[in-house]
Symmetry: C2
Subunit: 226 residues, 2 copies
DNA sequence: CGGTGTAATTATGAATTCATTATTGAGTCA
DNA sequence: TGACTCAATAATGAATTCATAATTACACCG
């Protein structure tokens, strides 16, 4: 079974789901804007059928909204959405911690430590993109460590929805410091393999991250940005 | 804002997603069987385009599998899938309990009590379909009580995937008794509004349900059923 | 001018068509 | 008889076409 993997040539629509998801998560397609079917078809060199199939899937993931007879638009990042999504992500990461802590190999923990070190470097040099990337890697490695594909899939979907928020909310220094502090704890608990405590930490860490985003969102709104 | 709701006329593909999901969850379309596009098109009186769009969405939900150039087949209910899915559902229901316990109105708790009574009646008379229906209502009411649309959506998707298992696994009397006992506790904790304990109970209840399904699955397999 | 109503244009939702890939089945040969 | 080849058939994936709903442009009226 490990020998012969089924060859996977992704279908057009799967490919498009990936590409479009990236465009949305990376903020190239801006929240609230309409998705121009025709242009995207031209850009990707495909017909409307697979593109529209991809939009249906993205809609089911909550990344786009389908308006009757008016096509698709990129879903906005609303306060309400963040408030609904973060608790669910928190619950999933708590679960992941509780499953993963005893399954992780030393090598996997070391790998997480590596990304943590990279994150700390980015923190000290103020390199936010690098910080976010390393941060995301750490969370994903923990999730992957649980070895639960369903958990992983749902986490990925939810994470994609909120990841876009980082383009709207400019994290305050205090919140950043707090997050880094929590990540330090995380590494300690991971090395101590204290799954219960790690789970609780993940949960509060995520909820703090949520609060930080909401604060930043409020700040952005009060200064006139929509 | 409460006055003018946007009129919602579901598009063909949305309608089809619902209908097909029901057919799969209600075991009309059997796990492992191929989905005959042509016949379904004829049955629903639609063309292949919206039907195929619906299949893409169902695939992203994990209810069908898309085989390259060989269409879609209804996803099988595997041991591995149950083992992966139940912990996630358990985590979501735990979260729901922790959120809902203080938000639920007395009327909502009464409504849950009603369904609990109906479930107990079905239990005593041995009416399994009625039992399952009431049981499902109770869990859904709790989830709805949390008032978190993201939680609700993900729970619905996951619940659909495992609900099909009840057609394969014939619950043992012991397990049934145990589930009923836990549901009794549930009502007590709900009325006491003890969110923390209720959350933990939901989690263990779901994990027990998982164990019961796995047992039944093993029993079914050992007697020759695939 | 500003607002309303209507025609022209455009974009969407769905059906249909086309090309390609699987599947079936008859026929051949060992 | 049974395995294999290859043509015939059917089904899929994607492009195209068609009907309809929404948007825009513009004339008309106040």
């Amino acid at each position: 079974m490990t020998l012969a993997q089924t060859i996977k040539r992704p279908s057009l629509h799967e490919e498009l789901v990936e590409r479009l998801r990236d465009l949305i998560v990376e903020d190239t397609l801006k929240p609230g804007t309409k998705v121009p079917e025709k242009e995207l078809c031209a850009a990707f060199g495909v017909s409307r059928t697979p593109l529209r199939e991809a939009l249906k899937v993205l809609a089911s993931e909550g990344l786009v909204e389908l308006l009757a007879n008016r096509g698709a638009q990129v879903a906005r990042v609303t306060r309400q959405e963040l408030e609904s999504t973060f608790p669910v992500i928190a619950a999933l990461e708590q679960l992941a911690a509780e499953i993963a802590y005893e399954k992780l190999t030393d090598a996997q923990i070391a790998r997480i430590g590596e990304r943590h070190a990279a994150m700390m470097t980015a923190y000290r040099t103020g390199d936010r993109p690098a910080y976010f990337a390393a941060n995301q890697d750490i969370h994903n490695l923990l999730i992957a460590g649980a070895g639960n594909p369903v958990l992983e899939a749902h986490h990925r979907t939810l994470a994609a929805r909120v990841r876009r928020a980082r383009f709207m909310s400019n994290l305050s220094q205090d919140r950043w410091d707090q997050a880094v502090e929590e990540h330090g704890q995380m590494i300690k608990l991971l090395q101590a393999r204290d799954g219960k405590a790690l789970g609780l930490l993940m949960k509060t860490h995520l909820m703090n991250k949520c609060a930080a985003h909401l604060e930043a969102l409020d700040a952005a709104e009060s200064t006139g940005r929509t």
